[in-house]
């Protein structure tokens, strides 16, 4: 059996975080969560976790989602990134500039995110095979 897909989900809203956790966990993903970009970065750096996909909110204290995306793209270029924002166009545009693979606007449909993850990872695998 293939290894489960590993997700890192980052949001400063604990309700969103637990909803996402429950959903993706029940879909068979291996899920870790962090309450802001700083907590996520520590998780990535300290434990040297090998995640497949990062799903992050954008407007957060300490290290924002845009900051996290910029750092992750540099340090972990293979990690796929889905950004979500509820704060209008500005943060979304900055996330695209920081090279997030997908930018979604809240409220987001969990099944749609799942679709995006599958699409991103399939694409990545195809590229690897090529």
């Amino acid at each position: 059996m293939a290894d489960p897909v590993r997700l890192l989900i980052v949001d400063d809203n604990k309700d969103i975080l637990s909803t996402f956790y429950e959903f993706f966990n029940s879909m068979g993903y291996e899920v870790k969560t962090a309450v802001d970009g700083f907590a996520a970065l520590k998780l990535l750096r300290e434990k040297n976790h090998d995640f497949d996909c990062l799903i992050t909110d954008l407007v957060m204290p300490n290290i924002s989602g845009v900051g996290l995306i910029s750092i992750v793209k540099k340090e972990y270029p293979d990690l796929k990134i889905i950004a979500m924002t509820g704060y209008g166009d500005q943060p979304g545009a900055l996330a695209s500039e920081a090279r997030a693979d997908v930018v979604l606007f809240k409220p987001v449909d969990l099944f749609k995110i799942e679709e995006k993850i599958t699409g991103l990872l399939d694409n990545g695998n195809q590229k690897k095979q090529e």
């Binding site: 970065l41 300490n62 924002s64 845009v66 900051g67 910029s70 750092i71 540099k74 500005q90 900055l94």
Partner: protein
């Protein structure tokens, strides 16, 4: 440039140090917020010190201190003849900070027209000096600071939302000193030593325990800078009384003076002890001997040895709890300060039932 270390032991401060450590090499835009005097520039300098940009300049500009036109020419420089009085070409702060850090202090006070230009420079990485039609590439790490609530200023249309999001990639919020009192003793010690070495002939004494308690309880509306100035004054005046007299009154800041060791650190709950007990012999004795019993029973109970033990235990317990609280319950630090072994401290903590505050 000598960087002031970021002094303190509080949780919030340690978290900021850790954050600096994690982001200094990323050179992503930083926004530092906090009341006046909390040390925003110190944080900016520490970011610079830990970054790969130390071979280049740390350039500071205060956006509130200059009128609009002057601020613009200070930031971007100008060509000869760009405006009346521009007799020769002058380079600006962006050029001076190339490959280094540009610290934009009081960014919340930058006029709206200059905010647009700043946004353009941050987006494109290019700027042109006044009166020039040439664009210059710039590689500066922008660290901005403000004591304003920028989100509030965005609502009031005084700050551009797009500039806010571009600066707010990393946000470092420094809490006011009154919310991290445990940093005060370390700050006092640091500035005392600093000024003692600067003015070795001055006789200003260090605060004794009571004075330190008052210092810790004062709300410090001017934060670390105000505390620093107090220590400096003490080196000259050598009178803590005079210094307290000159401070803005504590009541003005809505904080009622309290007896801190009891309210904050008393782990045993000896709340019946009045601070004035030292003036009242009976009251003092009553803390160690039950005076409500008959004289015969009373005299049986009194023995100097017994009372000495009780009294010293009480004081030890208070002092240990006080020191632990001051160092954020770092036991090995507390043991060093109290000059006992780590083991002894742990033993005494168990004996006196001193437990960390549950949060």
């Amino acid at each position: 440039m000598t960087t002031t270390p970021f002094i303190g032991v509080s949780k919030s401060l340690l978290k900021i140090k850790e954050l600096i450590n994690h982001v200094a090499n990323t050179c992503l835009n930083v926004l530092i917020t906090g009341e006046t005097g909390v040390g925003k520039e110190v944080v900016a300098q520490n970011l610079y010190e830990e970054s790969p940009r130390t071979a280049h300049n740390f350039v500071k500009i205060n956006c509130a201190a200059l009128p609009e036109t002057l601020l613009e020419s200070e930031l971007y420089g100008y060509e000869k003849g760009a405006f009346t009085g521009a007799h020769k070409k002058r380079s600006g702060k962006f050029q001076a900070a190339h490959k280094g850090v540009l610290f934009l202090d009081e960014i919340g006070d930058m006029p709206l027209s200059l905010q647009s230009k700043m946004l353009h420079v941050l987006q494109s990485g290019e700027f042109s000096p006044l009166g020039s039609d040439q664009d210059f590439k710039t590689d500066v790490w922008v660290i901005a600071a403000t004591n304003h609530d920028l989100e509030q200023r965005i609502k009031q249309k005084q700050f551009r939302e797009d500039l806010f999001y571009r600066l707010n990639i990393i946000k470092i919020d420094i809490p006011p000193l009154r919310e991290r009192k445990e940093d005060i003793p370390a700050l006092v010690e640091y500035y005392y030593r600093l000024y003692k070495s600067e003015y070795p002939n001055n006789q200003g004494s260090k605060p004794d325990a009571d004075t330190m308690t008052r210092l810790c309880n004062y709300p410090w509306p001017g934060n670390v800078r105000q505390l620093q100035n107090c220590i400096k004054k003490q080196m000259v005046l050598n009178s803590w009384e005079k210094i307290f007299d000159e401070m803005p009154s504590e009541e003005n800041h809505g904080i009622v003076s309290q007896t801190p060791p009891r309210s904050q650190f008393d782990p045993g709950g000896n709340n019946n002890v009045h601070p004035d007990f030292a003036n009242d012999q009976t009251s003092l004795i009553s803390q160690f001997v039950d005076l409500s019993t008959s004289s015969d029973k009373l005299f049986q109970d009194i023995s100097l040895k017994k009372i000495k033990k009780k009294a010293s235990d009480r004081v030890e317990k208070e002092v240990i709890a006080f020191v632990l609280d001051k160092v954020g319950w770092n036991r090995s630090r507390a043991a060093k300060i109290l000059k006992v072994s780590y083991k002894t401290l742990l033993y005494k903590m168990t004996e006196f039932e001193i437990d960390p505050p549950s949060k």
